[in-house]
């Protein structure tokens, strides 16, 4: 044999390992599916959230939704009002009725920033504005266990 046996064995090993890696990369893999929700301020940035809201005046925020479920998914954002100690958990959504909702369909890997304008009335301290993320899964709306909340103090205006 003209090619040295040892050299040929090394070349074979390189070819076999390269092919094994190529096959592993060709077979489609299921990545860990996840979705995300985030509350952004009026300018669409993290931070500088309003702490005090005047009753009756619009509260402007943005909600960011990200889809990495491995498929196009319909999402619904529900905004609910809670209080300190009365916020959702990873398994249970808040029981109060939604005051605002938004439905959107996102492709896999897609995201969107939705402007939110809320009109809160009344008065109170540490009111939790809760943003829950729901998804349409197996023919029904399911709570994803993802939520964000923002504590605000609701005050009466100067003419209230």
């Amino acid at each position: 044999m003209i090619v040295d046996d040892e050299v040929f064995a090394v070349l074979m090993a390189i070819v076999i390992v390269s092919c094994a890696i190529a096959i592993a990369m060709t077979i489609p893999r299921k990545t860990e599916p996840f979705s995300a929700i985030g509350v952004l301020n009026e300018m669409g940035k993290i931070g500088d959230y309003p702490r005090t809201v005047v009753s009756g005046s619009p509260l402007k925020l943005n909600v960011f939704i990200d889809n990495h479920e491995g498929k196009a998914t319909a999402f619904m954002v529900l905004v609910k009002l809670g209080s300190r100690g009365n916020i959702p958990s990873n398994t249970t959504p808040l029981s109060s009725a939604p005051i605002w909702n938004y439905t959107i369909v996102l492709n896999d890997g897609g995201n969107i920033t939705i402007p939110v304008e809320l009109n809160l009335s009344g008065e109170g301290k540490n009111i939790a504005i809760v943003f829950e993320l729901w998804e349409f899964n197996s023919s029904r709306w399911v709570y994803t266990g993802r939520w964000c909340h923002l504590y605000v103090n609701l005050t009466r205006g100067p003419y209230g």
Partner: protein, 133 residues
Amino acid sequence: MSFRIILLLLMLFIPLANLKAQPNGLEKAFSLIELLSSEGMNVSRQVDLLNSALSLYRQGKMEEADNLVNTALSELTSLQKELPNYKFWRNFWLFLRISAIAIVPPAFYYIFPRIYAYLWYRARRKWVVRRIR
């Protein structure tokens, strides 16, 4: 007389029943989008249509929104019919790709020494053999 009352009630309820059919159409479209995209089919156009429909619903333009939902739903239904064929060809090409890669090591084992030998002799074809005393 009672028959007329029943007929009148039916006429009143039929439009309401139609109105209630709209969210079902939307939910069916959501389910189909979920199913088809999880199989790897491209449903971007239908996603855009449904998002436009949702936007129109928010603006209160129910009729236009319903039309878009129906368009998306009919497109999704025809995509669903193509799904078995799509899955077959997807699996076929995947199998073909893997087979093509898997055949490389045996092919290399068989072909490489022969090509190397051919090139080795070809590179030395002008060499002259001389007897050395």
